[in-house]
Assembly symmetry: C2
Homo-oligomer: 157 residues x 2
DNA sequence: ATAATTCAGTTCAATATTTAATTATGCACC
DNA sequence: GGTGCATAATTAAATATTGAACTGAATTAT
């Protein structure tokens, strides 16, 4: 029991384990605040993410959306249904391949995004103000490296 | 429209926005792999987190668990119910304050954790191997700073 | 002392998310 | 040109998560 507690203390110092814990906490802290901001506008983060993707990348096959937002196929149908009901996007059937459906942002969706984006940006500036501009750049580099490596693992595994 | 696309390109370069995007992606990539590893043992990440907390911090009032794992009160009841049903933890009524219920890890729970932890650790080493030990330490420092600041904001806001 | 307030935990409904099964279509190969 | 395999989207069931209302208990104020 004492031996185990000692083992535990040792492994808690392990940088890999610590990194995972700190990454999870930082993400939750930041993401919860961002989510609260987005929710003020009647959207959740997933819906916002899809809208943003369509806004800047143009219409996308539903499956591509799933790849980019990391969402299962069933979830895409669900979120696209909701956004379509709210008239922020439209489904467009592909003429060449009838299996494919595109999602396309509507004028109303564009207007919403353009309306809420400035404040959204301001909030993110505020939420991430714990780091200086240089520290942010450092963190971006490290997180990118970490994420890319993990993605590679997922593919090969 | 062109003007907006230019604006968009500009703001995408903003370190705060970029940091948020990269943080979200890195977290998802890493956390998904870790979750898959944990799920092999019949637990989800939340259950695992609660078990781990009880293992190393001893019995805890349910509310404390919610604070540490960042879980709503209703969710605590839910996850504690599940773990109790699986006999990995027990509920213990507080004698001094009858509003309070402690959760305490059982022998069976301890055995499980001790059984799966070594492999869990190995997996996290593997998943985070995109960064060197020094880079991990740098990332830990930055993420801690970011998370602490965001937590402060949440309190005052 | 009692009334009002606060607090811990539970319950319940609403919402998100995943996985597996299903449907419809396209493609390759014989 | 039909058969079988792959792919895109939908559906449905199971699971997670939250937030609000509620219950019982403790604390504070009057």
């Amino acid at each position: 029991m004492d031996k185990q507690r000692k083992q535990y203390q040792e492994r808690k110092q392990d940088p890999s384990l610590k990194l995972f814990v700190v990454l999870s906490k930082a993400y939750r802290s930041v993401a919860d605040l961002v989510a609260a901001d987005i929710r003020k506008n009647g959207l959740n983060t997933t819906e916002f993410g899809v809208l943003e993707l369509l806004y800047h990348s143009g219409e996308q096959p539903l499956q591509k959306i799933g790849d980019k937002i990391l969402l299962a196929s069933g979830s895409i149908t669900y979120v696209v249904d909701k956004l379509e009901k709210k008239e922020f996007i439209n489904r467009i059937q592909c003429a060449k391949d009838r299996r494919i459906t595109y999602a396309s942002i509507s004028e109303k969706g564009k207007a919403l995004l353009e309306d809420i984006f400035p404040e959204h940006w301001r909030q993110i500036e505020k939420i991430t103000a714990g780091l200086s501009a240089d520290e942010k750049k450092g963190a971006i580099k490290l997180l990118k490296q970490l994420g890319i490596y993990a993605d590679e693992l997922k593919k090969t595994d």
